[in-house]
Subunit: 528 residues, 2 copies
């Protein structure tokens, strides 16, 4: 562990300012001193990244794919060292560390496969036609990388949404160099993974500058990065406030760049009366786990549970309170997150609510005591602070008088990553309109399941209307997330030898191409 910044393949420590990470369980500082990146170092990383972007264009897709595979291998090889560092810096369990490492490796492998599969290239060829008026030229279009991408490590996913996480992997897959602004609370985990990426890059002969890793505790370096003329796109996972600030900075540039920020979502769960009475125990158990797992520090943690008053509703509320409170309270990721959780909890508990239960641990530093608050639907609608995300193990049960009121609650939701429904088949079918409303509000609509647990596969959408993200048109999970970092370019009447391999007559990569409007893997056969 050096504590240094990785500027391409070189380690650098120009600043005299350093910081340490700390152990959220013991509160002790971890030993390594991390050097704050300087403006000079950021500039150097960007010079390298811009040059690397040009070099990357000349490197085959096969080699690019092997780079991602090799990152996965190098991360796997870190083994216990990585898992221990992860736990030390996050306070999360070893089991969670292992799961997240598996997911990180799985993601890298998926993108590696997709690079070769070539679906993302959206190659499109329209052959010339001299018979039309005016004569149609030969037009060939494909997706290419935007350029250097800045990725902000996420506090709650030290592996899967940080240094070599989804944003980094999708940007690499798109042919973009990546500059990671490492999350200061897990800078050690970040350094281990950064080294793994650098080793993989050297092994697969990637250009110097394909990757840099910068340490910084304050906001300045992140803000400087987003405004840097060499940066072409940004990936961020975190708070609404943080994401919006970067989004605003990027849009105020002379040359604006896209920022995909995954931010605030309350992930409502709506439970219909019939299923509530039938499956009360199972549903309350599932929701309890979803609220309290890893101290509720997930972007998909359910923050609102909407039910209608019925013969079972009181029992459900009591059962949920009991189960949630009974869980073991866990340390939160860091004191800033803990403080913010306590602050938001206080706000919620200053509202006009019906009842609440909080785990009755003595107040201990950094321990997120899980809390269930019950609110009348009318009061919920009136108080905007109840409708905003609380990051941590708190959930609000909204009690409706009837399904009409329940409808208006669902209609009141802001943009969400997810909205979940519990219902029997017959009551769901009788309430189709709820699903229609939900599909306008959320990126993912879930049936009889909880929102936590985001399966990584092509059909996943991890995104949604603002404030869930800054751009509902993209997903942050799955191979389609590459589209955030790609743009089309068309070549008109281009000589075969000058065309990128993806667009030559001979489809030597065997990628899917839309030839004269039809998707195929065949070659272009010149007319006689």
């Amino acid at each position: 562990m050096t504590g240094k910044n990785a500027i391409g393949f070189s380690l650098s420590s120009k600043s005299e300012r350093t910081f340490q990470t700390f152990n959220p369980i013991t509160g002790d500082l971890n030993p390594t001193h991390f050097f704050e990146a300087t403006i000079e170092e950021v500039d150097a990383a960007l010079v390298l990244a811009q040059e690397a972007f040009l070099q990357l264009k000349k490197i085959s897709l096969e080699k690019r794919a092997s780079f991602l595979l090799e990152i996965a291998n190098e991360i796997a090889k870190l083994d216990d060292e990585l898992i221990q560092m992860y736990c030390l810096e996050s306070g999360l369990s070893e089991q969670r560390a292992l799961t997240e490492r598996s997911r990180t490796i799985f993601q890298l492998n998926s993108f590696s496969k997709e690079i070769i599969n070539g679906d993302w290239i959206k190659a499109s060829i329209d052959e010339a036609d001299a018979a039309t008026f005016p004569p149609k030229p030969d037009l060939r279009k494909m997706m290419v990388g935007l350029g250097p991408v800045v990725v902000f490590g996420a506090s709650n996913f030290p592996l899967a949404y940080s240094t070599a996480g989804g944003d980094t992997a999708s940007a690499f897959a798109a042919g973009c160099p990546v500059i990671v602004k490492s999350h200061p609370m897990h800078a050690g985990t970040g350094e281990l993974v950064a080294e793994a990426i650098s080793r993989a890059a050297k092994k697969t002969e990637m250009p110097d500058g394909v990757f840099s890793n910068l340490n910084a505790q304050g906001f300045e370096i992140g803000q400087y990065l987003v405004q840097h003329p060499g940066v072409q796109a940004v990936g961020f996972t975190g708070s609404l406030k943080g994401g919006r600030a970067l989004f605003d900075l990027a849009n105020q540039r002379e040359f604006p760049i896209p920022v995909f920020a995954e931010m605030g979502s309350v992930n409502p769960i709506v439970i219909l009366p019939q299923i509530l009475s039938e499956d009360l125990d199972l549903i309350s158990s599932q929701i309890t786990t979803s609220i309290t797992n890893d101290a509720g520090q997930f972007c998909t943690k359910p923050g609102v549970i909407v039910i209608s008053r019925s013969a079972s509703s009181d029992e459900f509320v009591n059962e949920l309170k009991k189960k949630v409170v009974k869980q073991i309270s866990l340390p939160m990721l860091n004191s800033a997150i803990f403080d913010r959780f306590e602050e938001r909890k206080k706000e919620v508990l200053s509202s006009n609510f019906l009842s609440f239960s909080e785990s009755d641990l003595l107040i201990e530093n950094n321990i997120g005591r899980q809390t269930v608050v019950v609110v009348d639907a009318k009061q919920y609608l009136k108080q905007h602070l109840l409708q905003q995300e609380v990051f941590g193990p708190l959930s609000i049960v909204v009690l409706c008088d009837d399904l009409i009121q329940l409808n208006s609650i669902v209609d009141s939701f802001e943009g969400q990553l997810t909205i979940s429904f519990f219902g029997t088949d017959s009551e769901m079918l009788a309430n189709k309109n709820l699903v229609q409303i939900a599909s306008r509000k959320a990126g993912r609509v879930i049936f009889n399941g909880v929102p936590t647990g985001v399966t990584v596969c092509p059909s996943m959408n991890h995104g949604g209307p603002y404030p869930a993200t800054t751009d509902a048109r993209f997903t942050a999970v799955g191979i389609d997330s590459m589209q955030r970092f790609l743009r089309p370019v068309t070549f008109q009447n281009c000589h075969q030898e000058m065309l990128p391999i993806e667009l030559k007559d001979k489809n030597s990569l065997r990628i899917p191409r839309r030839i004269n409007g039809e998707w195929t893997r065949r070659d272009v056969h010149k007319k006689a």
Copy 2:
């Protein structure tokens, strides 16, 4: 001709403020008084549009496709009335009107076909797998419309980029209601087309509010629209200043929305020495037409021509000047555009240049006198005002000492819709690096052809890095332009009866779907 605003299917004229269009050739006002839309009318249009958006979701793709076909039919039926109004308000030729009408109809028909073809839906299905840990749920993803879209009519394309132009057609195809802010300089053409759209909407039983047409002369109504909470996206074609202003407003909203603005591009043409000597006459003729056609009022007009000093360079410059100046000078679209052209020309002619030629017509109101300015490469690089778009028949020839300097000129370009090269095969192959630079700067790279004449087909990209557009990731021409107005939504473990028809096991629409990662048109076969 009523001069009224179309608020859904109803005509409305609440304002006492009216304006008239005028004939750019005669300078006379045209007779109709157009009623400025009021805030109240905008609000009413948005209430209808939001309701229509919900209704549109329940309408089959087949019906949606028939709506677009019917718009095309209704526009064709307008026949002479439309062509005459177009010429009266734009000063453009009848031939141009006919060509643009054909293109408009062709675009509507293309989108109509694409609705049914279903490629744009990007349907994706991953089947459940209980054997994985954690068990994989059933996930099904598809693209859905963003919601009501505001389209700003473009001054230079009264048909193909205005009321029923590419933006409107692609938004309709994506299932989004459209509110057009009609261009005040061709409000009559707009009204005729708006009526055609309304007739088509009624005929094909589209909901009231699927389309509204608003008249406004100032900026206020446009600004109000972009900030309206009911609006979900914006399409704009026009100046950098106008596009950027709308982009900024949209990003400053509490809930930001995407603005696709197609703005400023100088569309450089780079000519290599060998071909210049071989095809001097042909090249100078092609470029002359591209500069002067319809008074150079195209977003793809070549504004910069880069050559290297050679035995033929002087002759080329003289030939180009001669040919350009010899063209008939044409009236510009309106006095604001004419004034801006004169202003920008004056700026260019106040720079440090080598020589220029301007057609020697007596200065007549609204006539855009075509101009060629010759500048030394060093001076071009020093003066940013030369690198910015001049809308109208003016082009700057940049004279380089050698190919090295020519390279640095190409490297200096800002984002462009197009960059064109003229070169023999051998000299293009010897200068591959130029093409690589160009493909980073432009949305379309053209060989041995001029940038004007944008073929409408799937492989066209009409877009490019800022300031050419506000988002290089999308095209404004071709079926892929629908993606600007679409977002993904995923259904997890959704009952077959609740799923949208696009995602049910049975693929009754026979659209392409990615099932477990493989594109196919087959049904999903449930495992036994």
